[in-house]
């Protein structure tokens, strides 16, 4: 979901990773949509060679996709037969998740695979040979055994869908076929190799194939982790463990990354999966049953055995609701929280008095709160003329989820941008501390050093948590 603040945040990420010029090009593409090189040069006022270098950086790091429109389309600005460039917003945001991707690779595979992946994340796209050569040179190994070991690890990364082949450089975008897809999505789909090709790199080891991190898969796992973390904090640790075990057990069998319902599993399989992880060792059948109940998981009877599947869509919807409700509670107070929950429950129009009566909030206060929530974009309001003499206008209220969710996501991007900018500011302010060894610092400097460490820890962990929140609100 690209909102105004999302755009600003994406540009900030690119600026801090690649500098001002690249971020200028990226901002232009994000704002204007697909552009030809000529149009981009006009809008950015950059010399051709600089512009080309900027585009190459963005393409190398999978933040821009080039394509050619097969036919001019009436409904869009796509120009026929010209190479055009489009920014891939999701991939830009993924850049702030690299530490999470690496952590998952280490947890699911091992440290050596993590190292290989780190090279790809740093360089964007590499040939298979470069990946191996980089790993070899880092460890100062030169023998064929170590090369084989790295290749084997690479195979594991591909099999686990952490790594995939690079997309086609300039795919031809077929005319609009009626599907409601953005040009960005259409360009990505057109550029993507077939499923078998994406993960078939191993067949021809030795050839010079470009590979890149499969950000969609990595982000799906990160998204699942965000979902599990949410359940752990909102429900309890045991329920989170059961959810994690089920998602992990079904991940490989799911074709589509985010299914609405997980693949059905028997109670025996779930128990086995739960007990296979350290935090699930002591969990009994009753614990697992209670956790499944908390997750709203009812067994479906197939054959003789009850099969359980998780309604992931419902879990995510609940997590989203709770996130928005928490904002209302902390920003407007307990009474507004009750009012918002009433209106969000079935998204129907309710009248001020009815709301006040059901929520047990004083009528005048309820009216004031409703107007504040409406002014800040949390509610929709409709006026109706009344036939009653005393009250000429009746106000009806409802939660309009689509626009509100977009508003909340925009605030999240704004918060992430603010936190990132504050981090830059804090670092700049204490630049002199970098020149001095901690053990050579005076008391006053040590105090400043400790403050900076504490502040950076708060800001960094907040940014990671905010990223979890993006995951809950975006398709992962």
């Amino acid at each position: 979901m690209l909102t105004q603040q999302g755009l600003e945040y994406a540009v900030h990420i690119i600026k801090s990773h690649f500098g001002d010029l690249v971020s200028k090009v990226c901002k232009c593409l994000l704002q204007r949509g697909p552009l030809t090189l000529q149009a981009l040069a006009q809008r950015t006022q950059l010399p051709r060679d600089q512009l080309k270098k900027c585009l190459l950086v963005l393409i190398q790091h999978n933040c821009v996709q080039a394509f050619i429109a097969a036919e001019a389309e009436e409904t869009s600005d796509l120009q026929r037969n010209f190479v055009q460039y489009i920014a891939i917003f999701d991939n830009i945001l993924h850049r702030s998740r690299f530490s999470k991707f690496l952590q998952i690779a280490e947890e699911q595979l091992d440290g050596q695979c993590e190292e290989l992946l780190k090279g790809l994340l740093q360089h964007g796209r590499l040939t298979l040979e470069s990946v191996i050569a980089r790993a070899v040179s880092q460890k100062n190994e030169g023998n064929s055994e170590s090369q084989d070991a790295h290749r084997a690890n690479f195979v594991r990364l591909v099999h686990a869908h952490f790594v995939e082949r690079c997309p086609t450089a300039q795919p031809v975008l077929e005319p609009f076929a009626g599907e409601l897809l953005t040009i960005e999505k259409r360009a990505i789909t057109a550029a993507a190799p077939s499923h078998s090709e994406r993960f078939s790199v191993i067949v021809d080891i030795g050839s010079d194939i470009d590979v890149k991190n499969n950000q969609r898969c990595s982000s799906a796992t990160t998204g699942e982790k965000a979902c599990v973390a949410n359940v752990r904090s909102k429900l309890d640790v045991k329920t989170g463990t059961v959810l994690e075990a089920i998602l992990e057990a079904t991940r490989s069998s799911e074709e589509k990354v985010k299914e609405e319902m997980s693949v059905p599993l028997s109670m025996d399989t779930i128990l086995q999966e739960v007990r296979g992880r350290p935090e699930g060792l002591e969990m009994t059948l009753e614990h697992v049953r209670a956790a499944l109940n908390q997750l709203g998981c009812v067994p479906s009877l197939a054959g003789t055995e009850g099969l359980y599947s998780i309604d992931l869509k419902n879990i995510i919807a609940n997590a989203q609701n709770e996130e928005v409700e928490a904002v209302v509670l902390n920003r407007y107070g307990r009474e507004a929280y009750r009012i918002f929950r009433l209106l969000a429950k079935d998204s129907r129009l309710l009248e001020t008095n009815q709301i006040s009566d059901t929520t047990l909030v004083d009528k005048k206060e309820a009216s004031e709160l409703l107007f504040r929530l409406w002014k800040d974009g949390f509610l929709d309001m409709e006026r109706m003329s009344s036939t009653l003499p005393k009250q000429a206008t009746i106000f009806l209220w409802k939660v309009k989820k689509d626009s509100l969710w977009e508003h909340v996501v925009d605030t999240m991007y704004h918060a992430a941008l603010n936190v990132s900018q504050r981090m830059d500011y804090e670092r700049e302010q204490e630049q002199e501390l970098r020149q001095i060894q901690p053990d050579l610092m005076t008391e006053a400097l040590k105090k400043r050093y400790n403050r900076l460490r504490r502040v950076m820890l708060i800001l960094e962990s907040s940014l990671l948590k905010l990223d979890d929140a993006f995951m809950l609100f975006n398709d992962f």
């Binding site: 904090s233 996130e323 605030t411 603010n418 800001l459």
Partner: protein
């Protein structure tokens, strides 16, 4: 607690004017008749003046006489707290005027609601699962509120607690903790969630900032000079 009983039916009007009203002047009688005709809805002074085409001083004097003879009463309007509705003493003010059973003299009885909520939560904790009728019975037997609480009020309290995210409405399965309740019966139990009210966005100052829409990187309000950030980071 000294709240008036809330579950009594509204009083009905008497068939004719009281004997005292016979001593009234013609104007006072007209004012009284109009007020009485409005029954439980009562009437504003302004509407009274308009309908009878009387001067302000005459209306005020008549109201004073009628109040001193205990023929009429002034009731605060929950929607317009500075205005009073006048109605004949024999009528109970309507819900539109008083705000309903949770209001006393035009004000929401927040203390009473808070006490009742606390008691209900304690009883739900103790009983694990409750129905409206069962909880009503326990509240009455607790002796805390005597006859002040109706079963409809208990239902309203339970619905408010659901909106507070303290309890959950469920249907009895007839098993386990529900074994004493018929299958499908609507009942309520405590939520086991640990901390449902802390969100990710709301744990960051920007998530709850009233000035977020005015905040820009180089603006008067910015993440660099933000007072909420300063408070958050330098606690």
């Amino acid at each position: 607690m000294g709240r008036p009983p809330s579950n009594l039916p509204p009083k009905r009007g008497r068939p004719s004017s009281s004997a005292a009203s016979q001593k009234l002047s013609d104007v006072e009688q007209d004012v009284y008749n109009l007020i009485r005709s409005k029954e439980g809805m009562g009437i504003f002074v302004g509407d009274l003046k308009r309908e009878l085409k009387l001067q302000d001083a005459i209306v005020k004097k008549s109201l004073k006489v009628l109040e001193s003879q205990k023929l009429i009463k002034g009731v605060n309007d929950v929607h317009h707290k500075l205005n009073k509705h006048y109605m004949a003493v024999e009528f109970e003010a309507s819900k539109e005027i008083t705000g309903g059973s949770w209001y006393v003299e035009g004000k929401l009885d927040a203390e009473f609601i808070k006490s009742l909520k606390e008691l209900c939560l304690k009883l739900i904790d103790k009983l694990e699962v409750v129905t409206v009728e069962g909880l009503f019975d326990y509240v009455r037997r607790s002796g805390c509120f005597n006859d002040e609480v109706s079963s409809h009020q208990i239902l309203e309290i339970l619905q408010a607690l659901v909106l507070d995210n303290e309890i959950e409405e469920v249907k009895s399965t007839g098993k386990g903790v529900f074994s004493s309740l018929p299958l499908g019966k609507v009942c309520y139990h405590r939520l086991t969630r640990r901390n449902p009210t802390t969100g990710i966005l709301s744990s960051i100052p920007c998530g709850v900032c009233p000035r977020i829409s005015e905040c820009t990187p180089d603006g008067i309000i910015s993440p660099i000079n933000c007072v909420y950030f300063k408070k958050w980071l330098d606690f």
